[in-house]
Symmetry: C5
Subunit: 273 residues, 5 copies
């Protein structure tokens, strides 16, 4: 058996997937909404607020958005794409749906990148001379993934944190002509991700962060959803991280959405004229 | 007869074209749709579901999309542009068409790039000293293409795979000031494509991939349509490929669309309020 | 009289202008169109088809477009901008205009770049020591242009080719920080254009190409309009050209539009429900 | 205790946050507005002008915009995001809201970057050998921030300046492959910001500038809101600054909005037909 | 008194500002317009044509646009932003305004860059050892500006030229990572602008060019408005200039708009069905 040389090791970090997630940004069509009688508006809100309360029991939440990108953000965490398709396709049955326009959305799955475990298991398999993608290799990798899946289950299938504010944005790793994340070594990527994680841990008490992967599902590679009671913490965390090498050099950011959590009653008052 | 020097060989890989393909992304105009009576909606859905069933017999399929980019995706495989124009132009006759907006589309043809055959036939013609684009050259090339066309017929004119999920995205090869796919040698391109194909083959049992060419037809150079029962496989395949040289350095991606297959009955329930 | 040094010669190739051209992309407003009675629709189509037949006698043509960018493309070749303004401004008088939205357009003039003649006349004037932009220089240049204008008249004021398919796209020459078309020598540009033209000539029997200039008129520098009976030839031609240096390095492409020619009767059937 | 080496000091400048700010750009829907009776328009304007006067007492202001990006800009300074959410969500209760479309918006907080204080306190803590992010470090930093917060209170929670004209634009610091603001040293950033500030001070009498931070809140990193009686001063200030190193090399600009202050009465006349 | 070293001289060229300018691009809402009775349309056109004639006496003009970017362009030259705001805000009082959508606009002021005067006065002040931005410096600069303002008055406050065609486009000076207009010396900029101006002067008899500055007012740094009787001259001038260093390397262009002048009567016929 020939030993596997490090340079032939796959450059792809092992990754765990958890809940399927849909972010929906919605705008209220105010003129049509106001043209209804107060009685109709109340009936429609009764139906919608009731539905929202039901959805909250299945890991969905609603947020009142700041700015013109939308009035309302719905975030749904589910066990599979099938469940996401189902919840999405039932919403138009609400009469309120006629008074809302979808301005944006994001499709992704909760993701944990296992840079450290990857290095260990790749090194151990290389030491044993197991060829990448051989059946022995695949079994060992799958065993590692399964152990991590068990250990990480609560992080892979999270509850919606009860924080007052949400911040969502999609991002890519840069593939520039000169600076290209996908062309540097696993070691460099692992080191930068560790440095990045260290900053995040200093905010552990104040911000809850959920990373979702969207390669193949939406227009950016990852989504970042942050939850905090004090929205200023979003700015401080992201600004501090922007000086990390992995963000400074390799992060490209999409649109930012910010909102305040609303429960059924607050949702009703948001739409009460 | 002067021998042809390798540097004078055409840099263009031989390419086979097959079915003409149209992807149509559609949004439902919910307020107008709901304003109809239940009886009208049923009649309109009867007509549309019946048409969908008919189209499915001619290599069309419908998908319920996730996210705000559309509610419905129709994909049509046909034998020619004439047939695509025909199927497209008959759809507005459906009464349902008044309740749909086309949010996006993609025009392309199934394509197989013959990097290996190209190298062989170019080398053989160069050995014989046949000048590129001479009539002898053209005959030999056409003979090669015709042999491949016969052999590849099922891949050039595919059925729509019966998988539960679809993923579609367009892409370009990078033409940067420094990194330019169209300025590197045929050998380098062939080697990178082979490496890329090797990753794809590891997913052969779980993902069906159809590559379509769209130079001259739409805004990106190629379309990629993936079919799988487990949508997470889209992410794993594309993420792993992103570390290939050909993707890491030379691939630029457009918008990603993801949907779940619906047959006639599921299509009806998608639009039932 | 001091001899003019080559480096002081103007870097601008001589260019002939011919017909003024307007491409109009139109979308049908299906719900409004269907809301008419069949009698009204017939009357409106009678008027429009009759107008189309009239316009075809003045070098206009209509195409049924593939994809969501439009349902209909009108292309008008005229002798001047005045005539283009006139034809454009008469179209809203058609009742059909209320059922169409203009989704895109392109304003340009037929253009022939005279790289070879430019080199010859610049060299000859430099040999005679005539200073650029002197009145003697200007007279010689104008005489050259006038001779070419006579010789090229049929190409400058073309009929719309009778081919079944059209492909239109706008393009720029790259002005990158490193690779800049407008900073390389006339000799290099002339050599690359000659190489590019040689590829085009191999397609002479199957594709008719009309280059139009749009600097100062629209958002890209040139428009390319291709006509062919087999639309696959568009892809083959443009793909092969993409490996030319002038395209690989210096061509930037806009949106691609593809359509099938419709005469008056086909135009009527396109809009018949 | 080991001394902290300068290179290990955090590269993040200390930053103070003040008022939460929302810019709202609005377009009038003229046809709907004109379709009302003069009596209705007057009643709706009475309600809206009255609300505007009330909002002006809480640090909001209205501006008549120049150009098609909007007819009206509302700017709200508040003590918290909670207050911003509240003011935003009460506006749709105005009947006028049915005749307005939000064309754009910006969410940010007043920010003061303390480059000089940062250098001093980092140097002093390094001299004492206090490790970054230790609890001693954190206490010293928080004490510095608190002293500055007290001193800067009027600038952190500003009144809306009474100037006749406003100019608003968002901006980023460049993170190019070669020129990257987040990869240069704190010293270089501090020196460039000082040079930039020196230009600004020459305009102190004529322009009032409010910098707001929007990382995590909106699509650019900062917002710049300028107030002046003579709008030409906006151009002179920004043009002069464009030659500063920090702007020439590291500033990327978004959309510019310009408007003229309107009080309640002027606001009424703006909408009177 | 210490002599000022050239490298410390401000890199900003002196600039004169003149008329405030608003370009408005408008689309006709044909279905709404046609739905009126002929009598109503006539009355509305009477009012609008009368207003246009009045505006033409105050340096406004109307153009019939080619292409889908708009049907109508209004260009207003005024003495101040106050006057621009006023003319803009009176237009919605026209009943025609309900049948028009603003598709685009541009806000700028007539600008003359005084590269030559700047060099002279900076050199003279440096010779005298006057420190930049000292009060003596400021007085001398203001005296220079005032002399030029008097001399240039007709160019700063121009009449709308009576030419048949208009071409408008906005532009930026490039601030690339490598090629950056704002990082090269005043001498280089002055030399390139002189070379650029020499080309322009060869077209003096056929094209009238008005440069407006829009830093702080709109999304590009400058606007270029060209007037000519023969629209082909726009293409020739801009194409020739594209080979100048200042354009080839440092000019970035926005959208191009082209239109034909219409007076009151022609304006009426443009909208007559």
């Amino acid at each position: 058996m020939t030993a596997v040389k490090p340079s032939e090791l796959p450059p792809v970090p092992l990754t765990l997937e958890g809940a399927s997630v849909l972010h929906q940004m919605l705008r209220v069509r105010w003129p049509a909404w106001r043209s209804l009688t107060a009685v109709d508006r109340t009936a429609i809100l009764d139906e919608a607020a009731c539905k929202l309360t039901e959805l909250e029991h299945h890991r969905s939440a609603a947020f009142s958005m700041l700015g013109h990108k939308g009035d309302l953000m719905l975030v749904h965490f589910r066990n599979s794409f099938d469940e996401l398709v189902e919840v999405q396709n039932k919403l138009p049955a609400l009469r309120l749906w006629d008074y809302l326009d979808q301005s944006s959305s994001y499709v992704s799955v909760v993701e944990l990148g296992l840079y450290e475990s990857t290095s260990k298991v790749y090194a151990s398999l290389a030491d044993k001379g197991v060829a990448p993608h051989s059946s022995e290799w695949n079994e060992e990798i799958e065993a590692t993934l399964e152990r991590q899946r068990q250990a990480m289950h609560p992080r892979l299938y999270p509850e919606v944190p009860p924080s007052k504010y949400i911040c969502f944005y999609p991002m890519d790793r840069r593939r520039g002509e000169d600076k290209n994340w996908y062309q540097i070594s696993m070691e460099e990527r692992q080191a930068m991700m560790a440095e990045h994680g260290a900053v995040g841990r200093r905010y552990a008490g104040t911000v809850k962060q959920i990373i979702t992967g969207s390669i193949g599902f939406d227009d950016w590679e990852w989504g970042v959803t942050l939850f905090a009671d004090d929205p200023l913490v979003f700015k401080r965390l992201i600004y501090e991280m922007r000086f990390d090498r992995v963000s400074a050099v390799y992060a490209l950011f999409g649109t930012f959405f910010v909102g305040k959590r609303v429960n059924g009653d607050e949702f009703r008052s948001l739409l009460t004229l």
